[in-house]
Symmetry: C2
Subunit: 217 residues, 2 copies
């Protein structure tokens, strides 16, 4: 094993491995080779072995990988067993959908509270997660050990809230607003979820396909 700054490309593949391994377990598959895993994920066996070798030796010659054990290793690498805690800011449409629908726990993260400005929401609770007034956000951050802020507020207040989060020492922001939040500073980790970026990439490939067809005709 090496473990000297693993490339982002590798990191982005880890969750895919995890998901596939879960699927394999579900269908009763207990072991798998890099060749077979590659087939199922559209990757070369080489790349898969290279990826894993960044973190250790998880396989066995002549055998392959034990699905369950490999899964556990990757989960550990991804920090799923660290007990990270998150809060959600903005219980609008997307925020609400996340609370209702997204299983934070399944991915090793505890959603411990949500915040909003809307009176009718404050004091209520969703899936056991309490919703507090946004006024109490700073106070909450200072009295609880929170690593991740899920940002789901309207675009207009996104920057102000971000500043507040950073001022109170948040470590990471999971950004669902459609604002460019790259490097608000050097110490806060930002992960952007831009639906529109994703749709536009899709749109590009559909357009490209159209053009290809057009040329042939």
């Amino acid at each position: 094993m090496k473990q000297g700054k693993v490339s982002n490309n590798v990191i982005r593949r880890l969750p895919r491995y995890l998901r596939k391994l879960d699927e394999l377990t579900e269908s009763g598959v207990g072991r798998i080779s890099s060749f077979e895993l590659g087939q199922q994920l559209g990757l070369t066996p080489s790349q898969i072995r290279q990826d894993f070798s960044n973190f250790g030796e998880f396989g066995q010659q002549g055998y392959g990988y034990n699905v369950e054990a490999l899964r556990a290793q990757i989960a550990g690498i991804l920090g799923m067993d660290r007990g990270f805690r998150a809060i959600l800011i903005g219980v609008g449409n997307i925020g609400h959908a996340l609370m209702d629908n997204f299983s934070f726990t399944e991915w090793g993260v505890e959603l411990s509270a949500a915040f909003d400005v809307k009176e009718s929401l404050i004091g209520s609770e969703f899936n056991g997660v309490p919703i507090y007034s946004e006024d109490s956000l700073e106070d909450y951050l200072n009295t609880h050990d929170i690593q991740i802020a899920v940002l789901a507020v309207p675009k207009t207040v996104a920057l102000a809230v971000t500043e507040k989060l950073i001022r109170n020492g948040i470590e990471a922001i999971w950004n669902f607003t459609n604002i460019e939040l790259t490097e608000p500073n050097s110490t806060t980790i930002v992960e952007n979820v831009h639906f529109s970026d994703s749709l536009l990439a899709l749109s590009y490939y559909v357009a490209e396909r159209q053009d290809e067809r057009g040329q042939k005709a």
Copy 2:
């Protein structure tokens, strides 16, 4: 200009350029150099010029780029002016949030119908988009010109619905289910939106940061 299969990396940056250019327009900036744009996006000027040169010559020596004109070029490249049409399958939590909250039109896509199995939803309408019974899905596809299917059904039925979509010649699937939908076949374009992948990558970087701190102490 070259235009011979542009790399995926480049395509993924285009929506970011678009977003930034919109922000610039909003704040009244009419021209920008690759240097300044690079600063704001955390990219090198070289990369930006290289990216654009895949599609044409959009700048002017000694001046830079006209923000509005460049925006229009990129929008065109991304297929935003092609009038793509989409349908949504699954009006659950996430599907509902998309209908309510996500402006398809803003990105050049028309959401023309939604489908669900839930009796109470069928026949109703959100933001002018009608919700039909999933039984009529195939019929609808055969009588309308639809390119994109937004897949927001429960995990358990995801594969069955996907098959149905492909059988009826859908061109692209925007996949919001947490299922690995890579290459269902070679002709359908799939764009995955996996929240969990994104959260896990975030989690990894928080864990890494923790370890770094641990070593220093």
